[in-house]
């Protein structure tokens, strides 16, 4: 298709950007997508410009700089009858609202994205939309509903090596839901599969997600020492990669694990770090967490 329409460079750029994202080279991906947007603008093709803009916006959103893109994405969604552009715009808006914690709005746009993907018959996009809906249901504590969305997403991912990365991310999400709902055997199986796949692909920054979930799973399984062994290296990796949210969750989980393992000194040290680094005003936190087990209150994906 591309060679006929003369869009090979743009498609190539998009592919390069995709590979860079998987490899965790997000700055490089940003540069490539910026170049792709420039290339699209040079063609003057509105559809290509919109597609390139949506991709550029997507990455900015993933990097937490997406707020400024919502308005233009909404314009793309409103002015287009082209389902492809509509999917990309709606999906991007859903992600942006997910990031700024407007979950109900995000769910609205994620469902639009799902409907457009269904019309297009694009399995990969439909899977992304189901996964996104699942994510937005998880943060609202609708774990059973989220499981169904993730299962639909996984059913749509082809079993080929090229889709392994995507499948592993969905598995992490589904595995966490299983663990929260007490389905530990299923949760462990899926989380391990996710973790191993991401490690094999060299997607180490993404492998931190299933490691956090596994640490939590060990806690729920009453194996706090295994949780410590699993969570410790994950904490180091999350710190090295600057993943503040994972660091926060891991400090909490490791404190909980140490406490359940009977090592109060270590527990206090993790809870103390959590308080100093993330909640400096809340001096009471270490004592509170030593006394109250808040596992059943906390949503690590929220």
């Amino acid at each position: 298709m591309s060679s006929e329409t003369g869009h090979i460079p743009l498609e190539d750029l998009m592919s390069r950007a995709h590979r860079a994202v998987i490899a965790g080279q997000l700055s490089e991906a940003e540069e490539v997508l910026e170049a792709a947007l420039q290339t699209a603008r040079e063609t003057g093709d509105r559809r290509e410009i919109d597609r390139a803009f949506c991709s550029r916006a997507s990455l900015a959103i993933e990097l937490g700089r997406g707020d400024g893109y919502i308005k233009e994405l909404r314009e793309i969604l409103l002015r287009n009858v082209d389902h492809e552009s509509c999917f990309l715009a709606a999906y991007g808006i859903a992600r942006a609202y997910d990031f700024n914690k407007s979950y109900k709005k995000g769910l609205f746009y994620a469902r639009i994205a799902r409907d457009r993907a269904e019309v297009l018959g694009r399995r990969e996009w439909l899977a992304s939309a189901y996964n996104q809906i699942g994510n937005l249901l998880v943060v609202e504590s609708f774990f059973e509903d989220a499981c169904q969305e993730y299962e639909q997403a996984l059913a749509l991912v082809p079993p080929d090596p090229g889709s392994a990365f995507r499948r592993a991310l969905y598995q992490d999400n589904l595995g966490y839901c299983h663990v929260v709902q007490g389905r530990l055997v299923e949760g462990f199986r899926i989380l391990f599969e996710s973790y191993r796949t991401l490690r094999r692909l060299g997607a180490n920054r993404y492998a931190i997600g299933p490691r956090v979930s596994l640490c939590f799973a060990y806690l729920e399984a009453g194996r706090p020492r295994r949780a410590l062994l699993c969570g410790g290296p994950a904490l180091n990796a999350a710190e090295a990669d600057g993943q503040a949210e994972s660091v926060k969750n891991l400090l909490y989980l490791l404190g909980e694990a140490a406490n359940l393992a009977g090592d109060i000194g270590l527990a206090r040290s993790y809870f103390g770090r959590l308080q100093r680094e993330f909640y400096p005003e809340a001096g009471y936190l270490p004592d509170f967490l030593l006394a109250i087990d808040v596992r059943k209150l906390v949503n690590l994906k929220a």
Partner: protein, 128 residues
Amino acid sequence: MSSPQKVRQIQLVGRKIRELRKEHKLTQVELSQRLGIQQSDLSRMEQGEYRVSLDTLFRILAEFQLSIGEFFDELAKETITPRDQRLVEQIKSLPTEAQREVEDFIAFKQAQDRRREENPGDLEGDEA
């Protein structure tokens, strides 16, 4: 030093949040606005159906910071901890006669405590 007892009942935490909110004369709408969450989410949380991020959880605690001690004490009082559960199981595992002996001993210790409170000087040296 014994490790602090763990409190596991999410419903109790939700109920406590509801009580504290009412003590502070806040509606669900007012508190949810302060916390930056939806009123429906706070309602589900009070019913023990809604999990929150660590950030939101600690915002809730900060909102009631002056009552943290009370929050704590009452939860501990109202909750059957794993230790409590273990004690019950241990007592139940004893023969009936031995269970009665344990009950008698508890009654004796309670009477002793009452006497100690009423006449602090009378029982001096009892524990030696």
